[in-house]
């Protein structure tokens, strides 16, 4: 089949060569570059499109694997007085919060990545059925938010939108599992067209992650989480 097609196309090919023979060298190089670019795009595009379901399967098996390997990571925490399975998650979240407060999208992206990693390492073995339900629901959403934050280093406003939703998730997590450290729930009434948004902070002093350096002190403590 393939050979037949190629053979039939011989003639137009020849004319193509003929005209290209008259072109200056640079132009021919250009053809070559464009041609190889098309070939490369084609390969990547195909592999992307076809592996769609496969990659979804892979993700699932990845998470189950992480669930299996998790215990050795968090066993050390169990002996600590304020052990919480979400300790690392909280600490990455606070890093993200501080990065946004200082208008640093790049550090925010790094912390976003840290959150994704931390979610993968949470030890779920001791969870009650109720805790597991809360955790799975929250973690699924939080992971997506963190992924968006990690891939949008150049769009800090976009990162902040997801940080708003992520803060909701983190609050529910901390309420269920504790934070391993005292936290404050702060509220900024101005963000998101005056709809307002809250965040969690390790300091009593307000450092607004939504408005950053333009209005660092906007907001107030609404709740103390101990």
């Amino acid at each position: 089949m393939l050979c037949l097609h190629v053979a039939r196309l011989q003639k137009p090919c020849e004319t193509l060569y003929h005209s290209s023979g008259k072109q200056p060298k640079i132009l021919k190089m250009k053809n070559l570059i464009i041609g190889s670019a098309i070939a490369i795009v084609l390969f990547t595009a195909c592999s992307n499109g076809n592996n769609n379901t496969a990659s979804a399967d892979k993700k699932e098996s990845d998470t189950t694997q992480q669930g299996v390997t998790a215990p050795e990571v968090t066993t050390t925490n169990v002996n600590e007085p304020n052990a919480t399975p979400v300790k690392e998650l909280v600490s990455q979240y606070l890093k993200l919060k501080n990065a946004l407060a200082s208008d640093n999208g790049k550090n925010a992206a790094t912390a976003g990545n840290g959150i994704v990693d931390a979610i993968g390492k949470v030890n779920k073995t001791g969870f009650t059925a109720g805790q597991k339900k809360v955790y799975d629901d929250v973690a699924d959403d939080a992971k997506e938010m963190a992924e968006h934050i990690s891939t949008n280093a150049g769009k800090i406003e976009h990162q902040r939108e997801h940080f708003d939703m992520l803060s909701n998730d983190m609050y529910d997590l901390v309420k269920t599992f504790g934070a391993g450290q005292p936290l404050y729930k702060d509220f900024c009434p101005m963000y998101n067209n005056k709809k307002g948004a809250f965040w969690l902070s390790e300091t009593k002093e307000i450092k607004n992650p939504y408005l950053g350096k333009s209005m660092p002190n906007c907001g107030s403590v609404k709740e103390e989480l101990k």
């Binding site: 070559l32 084609l42 595009a45 195909c46 992307n48 499109g49 959403d141 939108e161």
Partner: protein
């Protein structure tokens, strides 16, 4: 035959060979029980806006343009669609947790409001998919109402 001719011929053969690999169509006539229209009250006028402006990349039913049949364009399109569906799929909206649905609604309204969606690259070709001030308001108001009903649950 010079090496340049050989390279060109090889590329041409590769190009032709790839025409035989036709990517699968993102078309599923049967509605899933998790389709958004089965979960929420979506008025017909809102539905029609969603269909023409969003569903090509955010549902299980794409209206394919003719150039989908030329490779690698078709494969590129499909990878865009896969990416779009991964972020939001109206045909499978019910598979998201309630928390996620609420956040999805919020993100949809936000991207419509600020005009980041539908993508301008898409509306260059699909002129009918462009949103006007009226259609934007229509969809965002509907989202606001639906989202409120969700938070009251």
């Amino acid at each position: 035959m010079s090496w340049k001719k050989k390279v060109l011929l090889t590329l041409l053969i590769v190009f032709i060979a790839f025409q035989f690999i036709q990517p699968a169509h993102n078309k599923n006539g049967q509605g899933l029980p998790t389709d958004i229209v089965k979960l929420y009250n979506v008025p017909p006028n809102v539905q029609s806006v969603l269909k023409t402006s969003c569903y090509d990349c955010h549902s299980n039913n794409t209206r394919y343009p003719w150039y989908f049949n030329i490779q690698p364009l078709g494969s590129m399109l499909n990878s865009h669609i896969a990416n779009g569906k991964e972020n939001l799929n109206f045909s499978d909206f019910g598979s998201y947790s309630e928390r996620k649905q609420k956040n999805k609604f919020r993100s949809i309204a936000k991207s419509i409001d600020e005009g980041s969606m539908p993508l301008w690259q898409y509306t260059i070709i699909h002129k009918d998919a462009r949103l006007t001030t009226e259609t934007k308001a229509l969809v965002t108001n509907w989202i606001e109402k639906t989202k409120d009903s969700l938070s009251r649950k």
